[in-house]
């Protein structure tokens, strides 16, 4: 499902004022994949992430008309997911969790037998991303995969735009080295 910023605003109003459950459902379906992905990247725990997304989305419904004050809903949700995820991790006394390779094959699992070569490259890139340090990986995914700007990423993670750029540069450098042998053979 694709929603434009305008659609999201419209749905937000329907939820806030008309208490429209169908509008709420559309928001949920639209945001679930990205929020779930994000929570998983922080917690490395699919079931816990499912719970976190559900809790955060429930709060959206409970806000009633205060939901209107939320200017950028997507940003707000990502921030809420990050806070909720870190709260859960805090109770277990760990920081960002190191990803197991097997845990995250979301990106590769959707592509069936279409072009083996292509799939292999995607697979390699995904593995390169997974090999990044947790925070660096988180920054990279928010910008590259979710399309957030420096400013928004900074607001979600609570780190400065400068630090974000450093994380990004490091990520590209590592991915580049990781893929060097593979990509270079065609040149």
């Amino acid at each position: 499902m694709q929603l434009t910023a305008h659609d999201i605003d419209r749905l937000k109003y329907s939820v806030a004022y008309a208490r429209d459950e169908n509008a709420y459902k559309q928001l949920f379906i639209f945001f679930h994949p990205q929020l779930f992905r994000f929570a998983c990247h922080i917690t490395a725990d699919r079931e816990l992430s499912e719970e976190i997304v559900s809790d955060v989305m429930m709060r959206i419904w409970e806000m009633e008309t205060r939901l209107i004050d939320v200017e950028n809903l997507r940003l707000y949700l990502f921030r809420a997911i990050k806070n909720a995820s870190l709260t859960h991790l805090n109770t277990r006394k760990i920081d960002f969790v190191e990803m197991e390779n097997s845990l995250f094959n979301l990106a590769t699992s959707n592509t069936p037998e279409q072009g083996l070569l292509n799939l292999e490259l995607k697979d390699r890139i995904e593995r390169a991303i997974q090999s990044l340090p947790p925070k660096c990986q988180c920054v990279f995914r928010l910008i590259k995969e979710e399309g957030f700007s420096y400013k928004h990423t900074s607001s979600i993670l609570g780190i400065s735009p400068n630090t974000i750029e450093n994380h990004m540069a490091l990520a590209f450098k590592k991915i580049s080295h990781y893929l060097y042998g593979y990509l270079n053979k065609d040149i």
Binding site: E47, M57, I187
Partner: protein
């Protein structure tokens, strides 16, 4: 700043949409002189594929989420409320619930069990909690560990008072939907007459009425492990949207999607849950929304569901009629209306006396 680091920062700005005109020009110049970076740049510009699987997962997640919202009273639409008089008027239904629902429909009894039970379960002395729903009613409870359980009519759930300490174990007779709270250190185990189900944290439906032909468990999300009591060494792992069907009476084979093993004469199969059209709900949990859904079921099996749902007694005066098969979906219809609709599709006659319904050819 090294040339390389400078390039990575430029690339980063470009991808994040932060680059100025000037920076874009510089980036292009660097790329021309470096084919490897050019390739990497192209790869990094491809959109990450987001597939149908994620959308399906989102719908599943919403199904579970919506149930949670309804249970906690966030949504206005009627849902998991006991069905007393299932009339067309939804608000009447709600008021009925508010007035007498909580008080009358659930018998929650913390029972100190007598000697026979003590002998059976010596290792767990102390008291047990037992929750029983009458036919024609439903209820929702929260266990001490936060797990939510929705009980369909004619169901009994029991658990020990020291439930939370070690493993979380419950006994179930009847049908219930479990949303198990996440706690890997304390596995959650459900005992039924045929199977034991072990979970870490997940949502699923269990249907194990002694009168039914089959024992079924349907998984909405997460992962569960099923153990047949007669073959305790074999574990069956269920994935989301799969359901496990164990034949109770060892009669006919049902479905052949993944025949697993022969359990004496009884058959064990795994098939997928049955989606209902229009939204993401599935047939297996329709009862939670006061809906009745049948897919290719005999009238005999349907009658058992009607008995549980409307607290009536159905008597067949003809053996043949029992085997008539129907697929149907009912939202607000009463029992009489359901029977009249079914008999339109394949003809049978019936008459009602008080709470008893007689069905004949």
């Amino acid at each position: 700043m090294s040339n390389e680091t400078f390039f990575w920062k430029l690339l980063s700005r470009k991808i994040a949409g932060e680059a100025t005109e000037q920076e874009l020009k510089e980036l292009e110049e660097i790329l021309i002189g470096n084919p490897y970076w050019q390739m990497l740049y192209n790869e990094m510009h491809k959109k990450t594929a987001t597939g149908d699987i994620q959308e399906t997962e989102a719908h599943q997640a919403y199904a579970a989420h919506a149930v949670k919202m309804q249970i906690q009273g966030k949504f206005n639409s009627p849902s998991i409320l006991p069905a007393y008089n299932v009339g067309k008027n939804k608000s009447v239904k709600r008021n009925t619930f508010l007035a007498i629902g909580a008080a009358a429909s659930i018998i929650v009894a913390a029972l100190i069990y007598g000697m026979p039970y003590f002998e059976m379960k010596k290792q767990q002395p102390g008291s047990f909690n037992e929750i029983i729903t009458k036919k024609g009613s439903k209820s929702n409870i929260r266990l001490p560990d936060g797990t939510q359980v929705w009980l369909n009519g004619g169901t009994k759930l029991s658990y020990s008072n020291d439930f939370i300490k070690n493993t979380r174990e419950v006994d179930l007779v009847g049908e219930a939907f479990f949303d198990v709270s996440h706690d890997p250190a304390h596995p959650f185990i459900i005992h039924t007459n045929k199977i034991n189900i072990k979970v870490l944290g997940t949502a699923f439906n269990v249907r194990s009425y002694p009168q039914d032909e089959t024992v079924e468990t349907s998984l909405v999300r997460g992962k569960i492990e099923v153990i047949l009591k007669s073959r305790p060494d074999e574990k069956i792992i269920l994935r989301p949207n799969e359901k496990l069907v164990v034949n109770n009476k060892s009669t006919k084979l049902e479905g052949k999607l993944r025949p697993l093993l022969q359990e004496g004469l009884a058959t064990v199969t795994i098939k997928s849950v049955t989606p209902l059209a229009a939204d993401s709900s599935i047939l297996e949990t329709a009862w939670m929304n006061d809906e009745l859904a049948f897919f290719n079921k005999t009238l005999e099996q349907i009658a058992l569901d009607l008995e549980r749902r409307f607290n009536v007694l159905v008597i067949f005066e003809d053996e043949q009629v029992k085997q008539y098969r129907y697929s149907a979906f009912f939202e607000t219809e009463g029992v009489e209306e359901i029977l009249s609709i079914l008999s339109l599709s394949k003809k049978f006659n019936y008459n009602t006396e008080g709470k008893t319904i007689m069905i004949k050819k």
